[in-house]
Amino acid sequence: MRQKTIAAVLGAASVLATATAVTAQDLNFDEYRQMLADGNPAELFEMEGEELWRTARGPKNATLEQCDLGLGPGVVEGAAAQMPRYFADTGKVQDLESRLMTCMETLQGIPSAEVINGKFRQGERGKIASLVAYVVTHSNGKPIAVDLSHPKMKEMYAMGEKAFFYRAGAMDFSCASCHGEDGKRIRATSLPNITTAKCAAEGWGSWPAYRVSNSQFWTMQHRLWDCFRQQRTAEPIFASDVTIALSVFMAGKGNGGQAVWPGVKR
């Protein structure tokens, strides 16, 4: 994409780069990933999430069984595949995590601030992750089907696309620095080109995921938070507009692709 011929030096460099293959080895992890797909430890979080969904908690001592994820109160089947979506009751575009936060506040009386100001994998935010594991499992294998027709969804998509290319921080990175070209890797990790429908679906449709490198279950909010950390920006606020906008952009771009939820990652 951004290839430019500058000095003769760099011109020579690109020729030489093709002449000296790094290693003959193509880093193909298909076999490895296939072996992990059966018995994804994310199932342990899913079990916890299912129990949490049905457990009366919070000041109102209520369960989440009346939580409306967009398909009606209590409907979990297929709900995640259609998120983020515009919710009339909050007047906001919400992803799964921010919607669960709303349900916990309205049904159970658990203040959203506890989640927003909390830490990943701890307290109420940690509980949301387990709930996410449970909810997304009920959209596993379904096509990503995000409705972009509402004006607020359209706006979020447009803002997400802009945010995707927004360079900032100590290293000048944008999301596109790593996810804007086909077939690239950071070290041995392959990077989906989110600007294509196919790879946007692969990216969106494979998170949340269990990460084998640290044995943690990461939601998309967590994934984006750590992308920004590595981008060397300031810290994104949990469920803030930028996280929702990027989610709408990715999910919308990947519409029609298959969700493989929860995923398992390196």
Partner: protein, 155 residues
């Protein structure tokens, strides 16, 4: 699905855990006495680890299959499966040559159970993975190399 949780056994103090399990009728009393093979798990060389499980110098065998990826995306979780086609296989051990603790796991295979186990192990670096099998009283071995790579931004 979660009725499992309700059957959870709360381990109390006092009784040794396996004693407690045995008392609860969940395991055989013999097993409660079978101690974890500390010297084998603490062994710092392959020879010492093999000696500690009583394997000595096992013979190479083509009847042992190791299922593991040629290349792993992360060393924290490497799937390893062992199938032994040796008659009367009674024991299977998985060892990682370049790990600080070489013996990863061992399995007692009672009669009626197939010599076909899978688990996942940590690997600090590219290494040979060994499957040591005891069949009809004798020890055999097979190995397979697994390459371990590094990913991510490293920050």
């Amino acid at each position: 699905m979660n009725n499992q949780r309700r059957d959870a056994l709360k381990a109390g103090g006092g009784l040794g855990v396996f004693g407690l399990l045995a008392a609860a009728g969940l395991i055989k009393p013999e097993m409660a006495l079978a101690a974890w093979n500390k010297s084998a798990f603490d062994a710092k060389s392959m020879d010492a680890a093999l000696a500690a499980i009583g394997a000595g110098k096992p013979a190479d065998s083509a009847d042992i299959q190791i299922t593991a990826p040629d290349i792993a995306e992360n060393g924290a979780v490497v799937p390893v499966g062992v199938v032994s086609n040796l008659p009367k296989t009674e024991y299977v051990a998985i060892m990682i040559e370049k790990n600080p603790s070489m013996l990863a796991a061992s399995f007692e295979i009672p009669e009626g159970t197939m010599a076909d186990v899978q688990t996942r192990v940590k690997m600090g670096q590219t290494s040979d993975v060994f499957a040591v099998v005891k069949a009809d009283g004798k020890f055999y071995v097979a190995k397979k190399e697994v390459k371990v790579t590094l990913g991510g931004c490293g920050g």
